[in-house]
Symmetry: C2
Subunit: 228 residues, 2 copies
């Protein structure tokens, strides 16, 4: 498999490009609008045929360029979680839905928590955990109908039940980590591990005392319109 992890350094957002090395069929997860030129060039340089553009959720911290990207690669389909109802979506995803890119497939895992509607993706021995489970951290739950309860439950029941050597690729990292594994997070994620119960986890999450997301007032309406 061709695999590329890409960084938007301004927002510390990771974008992922996965492709079958023979057929060149490709998918991209969570593209960022400021990187349209870089990512288009990369897709073209690798001679890839972009088949699916996947967004994990309606982002508050950066603007997706899924709509823009489909204009450049009109054969690509935009797939999002069924309840996100983005104007530009071609496919509304269900839980455990499989999308194939030639020899490979990527499977959805319904994992709300950071927001009310959102999805992780599993492909081969990798899981893309978006803002649900970050490296030694978890996404915030204090806006867009986030839920501490659902986050705790989904991390425990849907992510931590994957094999320990599954590589975790998050949507962001603010400490210079690029990946983790399920086994490592089970041992070393303080937010989850130090919580003795859901109530305890919930209290830690409520006390994170985070700043208002810088780009939320621009990003949310723009993303709902798919930047069109």
């Amino acid at each position: 498999m061709i695999f590329k992890q890409l960084i938007d350094t301004e927002t510390s957002t990771y974008t992922y490009l996965l492709a079958d090395e023979n057929s060149k069929e490709a998918i991209i997860i969570d593209p960022v609008v400021e990187q349209v030129e870089r990512d288009t060039q990369l897709i073209n340089e690798l001679w890839l045929t972009l088949k699916y553009i996947l967004d994990t959720h309606v982002h508050a911290d950066h603007v997706t360029w899924s709509g823009e990207l489909r204009k450049i690669f009109p054969e690509a389909q935009i797939a999002v979680w069924k309840e996100n109802k983005l104007k530009c979506a071609d496919i509304l995803l269900q839980d455990k839905q499989e999308l194939s890119f030639w020899e490979y497939k990527i499977t959805t895992l319904e994992t709300p928590g950071h927001t009310a509607w959102c999805v992780s993706y599993v492909s081969e021995d990798m899981v893309f955990t978006w803002d649900l489970l970050l490296i030694k951290a978890a996404g915030r739950t204090d806006f867009q109908s986030g839920s501490n309860e659902k986050m705790y439950q989904n991390i425990q029941e849907r992510i931590y039940t994957l094999p320990d050597d599954t590589t975790i690729y998050p949507a962001h990292d603010y400490n210079g980590f690029t990946s983790s594994t399920v086994g490592q997070e089970k041992k070393n994620n303080p937010l989850i591990n130090e919580a003795t119960s859901l109530e305890d986890f919930s209290e830690s999450m409520d006390n994170l005392d985070l700043a208002y997301p810088k780009k939320i007032d621009v990003s949310l309406p723009a993303n709902k319109l798919c930047w069109e």
Copy 2:
């Protein structure tokens, strides 16, 4: 193999941690002083035994923490290119020297160009090209006895002769790329590909018009003392 790519976002410097998953013997390449706490914690969390601390060259843009790291992990040995003669070095490396970490080995490739004395490392299907070959770019050659001629020659003769699917991990990237491959750089690196001759390459390099490195006056003396 356990493999971690780590980022120092202030200087866009990559550090690499490689370890044998069974014995836990590990090596670290190009650690950055500001990240001492993060990297020490990671090494401990993964229960690794740090065997070698490798620096690719005397860095001008960030301060290594090899000396500091050996204080924390006193069994680790600092290995550098033989002519760097760092005060804290335990091993002075020759060309094609192999260092083993249990089942795995890492091999040196003498590849001056960015500076006069420096080394790339090859392990499994990965090459760590430091500031010699960057993704769609190359390191600057305008200080520390850099040489356009040696850079051009070493990229062509020592890096481009590796198998095309060898993954390239550079010391830096300023555009959000985390890796490339030998095959991709052969096709897509404009500095090398668009040069019709060494003279042509040399002219492009001389016209890069780069700013004076921000941290060079602190980093060079500090790194020569191994931050001790």
